[in-house]
Amino acid sequence: MVWQLDLAILTLVVITAVGSLMVKDLLGAAILFGAYSFMMCALWSIMGAVDVAFTEASVGAGVSTVLFVAAVLRTSRRTRD
Protein backbone atom coordinates (compact mmCIF):
# COMPACT_ATOMS: atom_id res chain seq x y z
CA MET A 1 0.00 0.00 0.00
CA VAL A 2 1.47 3.35 -1.09
CA TRP A 3 0.33 5.92 1.42
CA GLN A 4 0.70 8.87 -0.98
CA LEU A 5 -1.73 7.27 -3.43
CA ASP A 6 -3.99 6.35 -0.57
CA LEU A 7 -4.03 9.94 0.66
CA ALA A 8 -4.69 11.31 -2.82
CA ILE A 9 -7.69 9.04 -3.30
CA LEU A 10 -8.98 9.85 0.16
CA THR A 11 -8.87 13.54 -0.72
CA LEU A 12 -10.70 12.89 -3.96
CA VAL A 13 -13.32 10.90 -2.09
CA VAL A 14 -14.03 13.83 0.20
CA ILE A 15 -14.10 16.25 -2.73
CA THR A 16 -16.57 14.17 -4.74
CA ALA A 17 -18.73 13.63 -1.66
CA VAL A 18 -18.92 17.35 -0.94
CA GLY A 19 -19.37 18.06 -4.64
CA SER A 20 -22.31 15.71 -5.04
CA LEU A 21 -24.02 17.45 -2.14
CA MET A 22 -23.19 20.99 -3.28
CA VAL A 23 -24.04 20.80 -6.97
CA LYS A 24 -27.34 22.43 -7.87
CA ASP A 25 -28.43 19.81 -10.37
CA LEU A 26 -29.67 16.43 -9.21
CA LEU A 27 -28.41 14.63 -12.31
CA GLY A 28 -24.96 16.06 -11.64
CA ALA A 29 -25.27 14.95 -8.03
CA ALA A 30 -26.08 11.42 -9.20
CA ILE A 31 -23.07 11.29 -11.50
CA LEU A 32 -20.75 12.74 -8.84
CA PHE A 33 -22.07 10.15 -6.46
CA GLY A 34 -21.09 7.52 -8.98
CA ALA A 35 -17.61 9.00 -9.08
CA TYR A 36 -17.52 8.94 -5.28
CA SER A 37 -18.45 5.26 -5.26
CA PHE A 38 -15.79 4.52 -7.81
CA MET A 39 -13.13 6.30 -5.76
CA MET A 40 -14.25 4.29 -2.76
CA CYS A 41 -13.90 1.16 -4.84
CA ALA A 42 -10.34 2.11 -5.77
CA LEU A 43 -9.57 2.80 -2.14
CA TRP A 44 -10.84 -0.56 -1.00
CA SER A 45 -8.95 -2.45 -3.63
CA ILE A 46 -5.79 -0.71 -2.40
CA MET A 47 -6.67 -1.88 1.09
CA GLY A 48 -6.88 -5.47 -0.11
CA ALA A 49 -10.65 -5.80 0.14
CA VAL A 50 -11.09 -7.08 -3.41
CA ASP A 51 -14.51 -8.57 -2.91
CA VAL A 52 -15.88 -5.42 -1.33
CA ALA A 53 -14.32 -3.32 -4.07
CA PHE A 54 -15.83 -5.54 -6.73
CA THR A 55 -19.25 -5.25 -5.14
CA GLU A 56 -18.96 -1.51 -4.78
CA ALA A 57 -17.89 -1.17 -8.39
CA SER A 58 -20.89 -3.10 -9.63
CA VAL A 59 -23.42 -1.89 -7.07
CA GLY A 60 -22.32 1.54 -5.90
CA ALA A 61 -20.86 2.90 -9.10
CA GLY A 62 -23.10 0.85 -11.40
CA VAL A 63 -26.60 0.08 -10.28
CA SER A 64 -26.97 2.81 -7.62
CA THR A 65 -26.06 5.49 -10.12
CA VAL A 66 -28.47 4.09 -12.68
CA LEU A 67 -31.23 4.02 -10.07
CA PHE A 68 -30.46 7.62 -9.13
CA VAL A 69 -30.54 8.71 -12.75
CA ALA A 70 -33.79 6.86 -13.34
CA ALA A 71 -35.41 8.46 -10.31
CA VAL A 72 -34.12 11.93 -11.13
CA LEU A 73 -35.34 11.76 -14.72
CA ARG A 74 -38.72 10.54 -13.46
CA THR A 75 -39.05 13.44 -11.02
CA SER A 76 -37.16 16.69 -11.51
CA ARG A 77 -33.57 17.83 -11.80
CA ARG A 78 -34.24 21.08 -10.04
CA THR A 79 -32.91 21.65 -6.54
CA ARG A 80 -32.26 24.68 -4.42
CA ASP A 81 -29.48 23.27 -2.28
Partner: protein, 136 residues
Protein backbone atom coordinates in the same frame (compact mmCIF):
# COMPACT_ATOMS: atom_id res chain seq x y z
CA UNK B 1 2.90 18.91 17.13
CA UNK B 2 5.03 15.97 16.16
CA UNK B 3 2.89 13.69 18.29
CA UNK B 4 -0.27 14.98 16.70
CA UNK B 5 1.15 14.45 13.23
CA UNK B 6 2.13 10.95 14.26
CA UNK B 7 -1.41 10.24 15.39
CA UNK B 8 -2.88 11.67 12.22
CA UNK B 9 -0.57 9.70 9.97
CA UNK B 10 -1.19 6.54 11.95
CA UNK B 11 -4.96 6.86 11.87
CA UNK B 12 -5.78 9.10 8.93
CA UNK B 13 -8.23 6.57 7.54
CA UNK B 14 -10.37 6.82 10.63
CA UNK B 15 -10.30 10.60 10.35
CA UNK B 16 -11.44 10.57 6.76
CA UNK B 17 -14.23 8.16 7.56
CA UNK B 18 -15.45 10.43 10.34
CA UNK B 19 -15.34 13.44 8.00
CA UNK B 20 -17.37 11.59 5.38
CA UNK B 21 -19.82 10.42 7.97
CA UNK B 22 -20.33 13.95 9.26
CA UNK B 23 -20.89 15.16 5.69
CA UNK B 24 -23.48 12.48 5.12
CA UNK B 25 -25.21 13.00 8.45
CA UNK B 26 -25.34 16.74 7.93
CA UNK B 27 -26.84 16.27 4.47
CA UNK B 28 -29.49 13.90 5.84
CA UNK B 29 -30.61 16.34 8.48
CA UNK B 30 -29.87 19.71 6.97
CA UNK B 31 -30.64 19.39 3.26
CA UNK B 32 -34.01 20.39 1.95
CA UNK B 33 -34.23 18.30 -1.20
CA UNK B 34 -35.40 14.72 -0.74
CA UNK B 35 -33.00 13.21 -3.28
CA UNK B 36 -30.08 15.15 -1.81
CA UNK B 37 -30.95 13.57 1.50
CA UNK B 38 -30.81 10.17 -0.14
CA UNK B 39 -27.38 11.00 -1.58
CA UNK B 40 -26.33 11.97 1.93
CA UNK B 41 -27.69 8.69 3.25
CA UNK B 42 -25.62 6.71 0.77
CA UNK B 43 -22.49 8.68 1.64
CA UNK B 44 -23.17 8.01 5.31
CA UNK B 45 -23.48 4.28 4.72
CA UNK B 46 -20.39 4.15 2.53
CA UNK B 47 -18.41 5.97 5.21
CA UNK B 48 -19.27 3.25 7.70
CA UNK B 49 -18.20 0.63 5.18
CA UNK B 50 -14.89 2.47 4.81
CA UNK B 51 -14.46 2.28 8.56
CA UNK B 52 -15.06 -1.45 8.64
CA UNK B 53 -12.72 -2.10 5.74
CA UNK B 54 -10.06 -0.05 7.52
CA UNK B 55 -10.37 -2.38 10.50
CA UNK B 56 -9.44 -5.32 8.33
CA UNK B 57 -6.22 -3.88 6.91
CA UNK B 58 -2.96 -5.50 7.94
CA UNK B 59 0.41 -4.11 6.93
CA UNK B 60 2.36 -6.46 4.71
CA UNK B 61 -0.57 -8.77 4.08
CA UNK B 62 -2.18 -9.73 0.81
CA UNK B 63 -5.76 -10.20 -0.35
CA UNK B 64 -7.75 -12.91 1.44
CA UNK B 65 -7.59 -15.55 -1.28
CA UNK B 66 -5.34 -18.47 -0.48
CA UNK B 67 -2.51 -19.24 -2.86
CA UNK B 68 -1.97 -22.79 -4.11
CA UNK B 69 -5.65 -23.30 -3.64
CA UNK B 70 -6.63 -23.97 -7.22
CA UNK B 71 -8.29 -26.91 -8.81
CA UNK B 72 -8.86 -30.45 -7.66
CA UNK B 73 -5.84 -30.74 -5.46
CA UNK B 74 -7.73 -28.66 -2.92
CA UNK B 75 -7.32 -31.24 -0.23
CA UNK B 76 -3.61 -31.66 -0.58
CA UNK B 77 -3.36 -27.89 -0.46
CA UNK B 78 -5.06 -27.99 2.90
CA UNK B 79 -1.96 -29.62 4.23
CA UNK B 80 -0.01 -26.48 3.33
CA UNK B 81 0.54 -24.28 6.31
CA UNK B 82 -1.24 -20.97 6.07
CA UNK B 83 -0.06 -18.10 8.21
CA UNK B 84 -2.71 -15.68 9.35
CA UNK B 85 -0.35 -12.70 9.17
CA UNK B 86 0.00 -13.09 5.41
CA UNK B 87 -3.63 -12.35 4.63
CA UNK B 88 -5.80 -9.39 5.51
CA UNK B 89 -8.67 -9.93 7.88
CA UNK B 90 -11.57 -11.33 5.82
CA UNK B 91 -14.34 -10.90 8.38
CA UNK B 92 -14.95 -7.14 7.90
CA UNK B 93 -15.10 -7.71 4.15
CA UNK B 94 -17.85 -10.26 4.60
CA UNK B 95 -19.79 -7.96 6.85
CA UNK B 96 -19.44 -5.10 4.44
CA UNK B 97 -20.63 -7.09 1.46
CA UNK B 98 -23.84 -7.47 3.41
CA UNK B 99 -23.88 -3.80 4.33
CA UNK B 100 -23.44 -2.71 0.69
CA UNK B 101 -26.41 -4.85 -0.28
CA UNK B 102 -28.48 -3.40 2.51
CA UNK B 103 -27.39 0.04 1.34
CA UNK B 104 -28.56 -0.48 -2.22
CA UNK B 105 -31.82 -2.02 -1.00
CA UNK B 106 -32.52 1.00 1.18
CA UNK B 107 -31.58 3.27 -1.72
CA UNK B 108 -34.10 1.59 -4.02
CA UNK B 109 -36.92 1.89 -1.51
CA UNK B 110 -36.02 5.49 -0.71
CA UNK B 111 -36.03 6.47 -4.39
CA UNK B 112 -39.36 4.73 -4.92
CA UNK B 113 -40.80 6.73 -2.03
CA UNK B 114 -39.31 9.93 -3.41
CA UNK B 115 -40.95 9.31 -6.79
CA UNK B 116 -44.24 8.64 -5.05
CA UNK B 117 -43.94 11.88 -3.10
CA UNK B 118 -43.13 13.72 -6.32
CA UNK B 119 -46.16 12.21 -8.03
CA UNK B 120 -48.36 13.54 -5.27
CA UNK B 121 -46.87 16.97 -4.56
CA UNK B 122 -45.02 17.65 -7.80
CA UNK B 123 -41.89 18.82 -6.04
CA UNK B 124 -38.95 17.34 -4.17
CA UNK B 125 -38.27 20.29 -1.86
CA UNK B 126 -39.37 19.46 1.65
CA UNK B 127 -40.43 22.99 2.63
CA UNK B 128 -42.60 23.36 -0.47
CA UNK B 129 -44.29 20.05 0.32
CA UNK B 130 -44.92 21.08 3.92
CA UNK B 131 -46.36 24.39 2.71
CA UNK B 132 -48.72 22.47 0.41
CA UNK B 133 -49.84 20.27 3.28
CA UNK B 134 -50.44 23.26 5.52
CA UNK B 135 -52.52 25.02 2.91
CA UNK B 136 -55.12 22.28 2.92
Amino acid sequence: MGDLLQIIVAKYNYWIYITLMMIGLYAMIGKNNLVKKIVGMSIFQTAIILFYVSIGVKKGATIPILEHGHGEHGHSAAALIVHAVDYVNPLPHVLMLTAIVVGVATLGVALALAIKVHNRFNTLEEDEILAQIREK
